[in-house]
């Protein structure tokens, strides 16, 4: 049986989500924009889902704009700057962002915007004072990832956002990895924009949302019909949205117990690896980190080879960033934390989640021990 330890890449659908989506696909075929009963039924399901998502994040439903995922939401916020600011001003972001922020940032830079990319320390953490210093008077937006997808490191976002709002700055937070694994409440965290994605919390792929505080400027990413209050044209992905809503309501209900059970699995894994595998190092802060994520350097072991050998033995993990061909380059997140390219290439991300059993963790530890030893005996070159 497969041992799936790559829940930061994506998560399996919860049975409840699948049930809600199956029903929706079969029954809610109407177009939510239509003026008849079929349309009204679909619209009511979309709006019910909007309420579920809003409740999970602690915002009024009117702030939730459904998108095709978090990458689209990130693009909407960043590329929206171009429309508003005419390419002037400053964007403050960090060196450990997701490509769906780094790539639009690079485009904005090309278009003439000033882009400041803040460094992180060895633990992967931003210095709030450095964020405040960078966000000078000319700053149009500060865009930061809350919980890092590769290391799970959770930025001190409460402190950062409080300081930035005191300075009157607009803030965008990419909460894709945080939601469902960390308390996310836009009622207490006064950001202007927040991005998230359904498939990271046992919902479907291809659905996510941008949450925008009332009054925060938005420009449509997809010009089209009246959907999503003209911010995102195109007929709604009704079943996806329904699944997203169900995933959010489950996450809200189960957050405390999930955090405890994921942390127990993750800690069991880390303890076991320390006992059974020599020469390993944990990357990133071990206190300010998502409950489910472990990023480990297996010293001298190329992550690509180890990942493939683990896969053959039934264990799914992640290494660096996969290129189109499926080969792997060293993670920019780890090198930004000061790891050498070789150390970064020897690192794997292991992330637990729904459905992982204690016994699987124990099996995985033994498989890791066997394969790491095998790679080290073979003396593989990077």
């Amino acid at each position: 049986m497969r041992i799936y330890l790559d829940h930061n890449a994506t998560t399996p659908l919860r049975a409840e989500v699948l049930g809600a989506m199956t029903e929706s696909l079969a029954e809610h075929y109407g177009n939510p924009s239509s003026g008849h009963a079929e349309g009204a039924l679909a619209l009511s399901r979309v709006e019910a889902a909007r309420q579920e998502v809003a409740d999970c994040i602690g915002v009024p439903p009117g702030w939730v704009y459904f998108t095709g995922g978090a990458s689209e939401a990130n693009n909407a916020v960043l590329m929206g700057l171009l429309a508003k600011s005419d390419g002037r001003g400053r964007l403050v972001t960090s060196c450990v962002e997701h490509p769906s922020v780094t790539e639009p940032a690079a485009r904005l830079e090309k278009a003439g915007m000033e882009v400041v990319r803040l460094p992180v320390d060895r633990d992967g953490l931003l210095d709030p004072e450095a964020v405040f210093a960078a966000a000078d008077g000319n700053t149009s937006l500060v865009s930061l990832i809350w919980a890092n997808n590769e290391t799970g490191v959770v930025q001190p976002m409460e402190e950062i956002v409080e300081g930035l709002k005191a300075r009157g700055k607009r803030v965008h937070v990419d909460a894709t990895q945080a939601i469902g694994k960390y308390p996310v409440d836009m009622g207490t965290l006064a950001v202007d924009y927040l991005s998230c994605s359904a498939h990271k919390l046992n919902g479907p792929k291809g659905t996510g949302c941008l949450v925008a505080r009332e009054g925060a400027p938005l420009s449509p990413l997809i010009a089209g019909g009246p959907q999503e209050r003209r911010m995102r044209g195109g007929t709604e992905n009704v079943a996806g949205i329904v699944g997203f809503g169900r995933a959010c309501s489950l996450a809200a209900k189960e957050l405390t117990e999930r955090m405890a059970s994921y942390a127990a699995l993750r800690d069991r894994l880390w303890l076991g690896l320390q006992e059974r595998v020599g020469r390993i190092r944990r990357n990133g802060s071990s206190s300010r980190v998502l409950v489910n994520t472990l990023n480990v350097e297996f010293v001298g072991v190329p992550g690509e080879v180890l990942l493939q050998a683990l896969d053959i033995e039934g264990v799914a993990v992640s290494a660096g960033a996969a290129c189109h061909s499926g080969s792997i380059s060293p993670s920019h997140v780890l090198t930004a934390m000061g790891l050498s390219p070789e150390e970064a290439r020897s690192s794997l991300r292991i992330s637990v989640g729904h459905g992982v059993q204690e016994a699987q963790i124990d099996d995985a530890i033994e498989i890791f021990a066997r394969l790491v030893n095998r790679v080290r005996r073979a003396g593989v070159e990077q």
Partner: protein, 378 residues
């Protein structure tokens, strides 16, 4: 070295035993390695396909399209498939060395190092880690264990048009013992026919002939992109007496035996006969000055593991697709061999490989035996 009975070639199943064993197939995305994977699946091996990502994305071989072709074939066969990224190592060990060889006035053949290090050393490492018994490739060559000596023998394939043994002379006994060449007994046409019959998507994919990281065949341009200083190293074109006949834009633009592109006018047909990188001189002369009676071969690898105790007769192949010249090999200390050709041989180019084949076995049904080989010195 002739104790092996016909039909005794060691098949994978003998090596691996009865149960379903794991084997790695180096899948390039071409028809040859696709068929190898399919044949081994047919023979009930647990096949793991691996595409080696070697030269950057701009090169023709190892391109994204080829990796995708290999992946699709693997999907069709229902086998595991991985991409192994060796781009940095390949740059260091093959591409940079290739450029430096040209700058040193030699004519390199990067496919030898690529085969030895990447297709065998590194893939075998991965096979060990994957718990696989060996590596199978789509090379046209034959490997078999001699039942008397116990030694593994490398022989030319059935399809001599596709013979790749020239590139494999550096393999050692340990590598040959875990290596399988399932296409050694097939012709290219048979390979395509079987691939078509099996419905492999790559059955009619065209061949790649060039060096993979020199897609247009413009060696000089590639050398200059890796070592821009090459452009600054122009010098004189001289004849054997040292008389200057013209100027050139860098020794890396020339290879021994070259006749075109010299940029000098002469009433005689002139060939490059020698390249002196230190003096930045390209020496030219008539065809008569191109011939060599012999050559010194260094870094010699003997497939059997040790040099013969006394001089031996051999067929010596001095470049890919060279028909071979009969010669006597005089083993010298320090992995060196003095080759004395029976008849003078044209364009013996430093930097190319000289591969030795057993003369007596040319009519052998099992294919001519590779004795070993090394590098031609200038």
């Amino acid at each position: 070295m002739s104790g092996l009975e016909e039909g005794q070639a060691v098949g994978l199943d003998e090596v691996l035993g009865e149960e379903r064993e794991r084997v790695i197939v180096a899948m390039s995305g071409g028809v040859d390695s696709s068929l190898v994977a399919a044949l081994l699946v047919e023979q009930d091996f647990e096949v793991v396909g691996v595409t080696m990502h070697l030269a950057g994305d701009s090169s023709r071989c190892c391109s994204l399209e080829d990796a995708d072709d290999a992946r699709r074939v693997a999907e069709g066969l229902g086998i595991r498939f991985y991409v192994a990224n060796y781009t940095e190592t390949f740059k260091r060990e093959v591409i940079d060395v290739f450029a430096d060889e040209y700058l040193a006035g030699r004519t390199p053949i990067p496919c030898v190092a690529c085969n030895k290090r990447f297709k065998f050393d590194y893939l075998m490492e991965r096979a060990t880690i994957f718990g696989a018994a060996g590596v199978a490739t789509g090379h046209y060559a034959r490997v078999a264990q001699n039942s008397q000596s116990g030694l593994f023998e490398l022989r030319r394939p059935r399809d001599l048009q596709k013979d790749q043994t020239y590139f494999l002379f550096q393999l050692d006994q340990a590598q040959l013992s875990t290596t399988f060449f399932p296409l050694g007994e097939l012709t290219k046409e048979q390979v395509r026919g079987r691939a078509r019959a099996l419905g492999l998507k790559t059955a009619d994919k065209p061949e790649s002939q060039e060096i993979c990281f020199v897609p247009g065949g413009d060696y000089a341009e590639v050398v200059e992109s890796i070592r821009p200083e090459a452009r600054e190293r122009g010098g004189a074109i001289v004849d054997a007496s040292g008389a200057v006949l013209g100027q050139h834009g860098g020794v890396h633009r020339f290879t021994v035996g070259q006749r075109h592109g010299l940029g000098i006018s002469s009433d005689r047909r002139l060939y490059v006969t020698r390249i002196d990188a230190e003096a930045r001189q390209v020496v030219v002369g008539p065809a008569s000055e191109l011939a060599s009676d012999g050559a010194e071969i260094t870094q010699v690898n003997w497939i059997a593991g040790a040099p013969p105790p006394r001089p031996v007769r051999a067929r010596v192949q001095i470049r890919h697709r060279h028909p071979g010249a009969e010669a006597t090999l005089f083993p010298l200390p320090g992995q060196t061999v003095r080759v004395e050709f029976d008849e003078p041989v044209d364009a013996v180019s430093p930097g190319q490989a000289a591969v030795f084949y057993e003369l007596s076995s040319s009519a052998d049904e099992r294919g001519e035996l590779v004795l070993g080989g090394g590098w031609i010195q200038g």
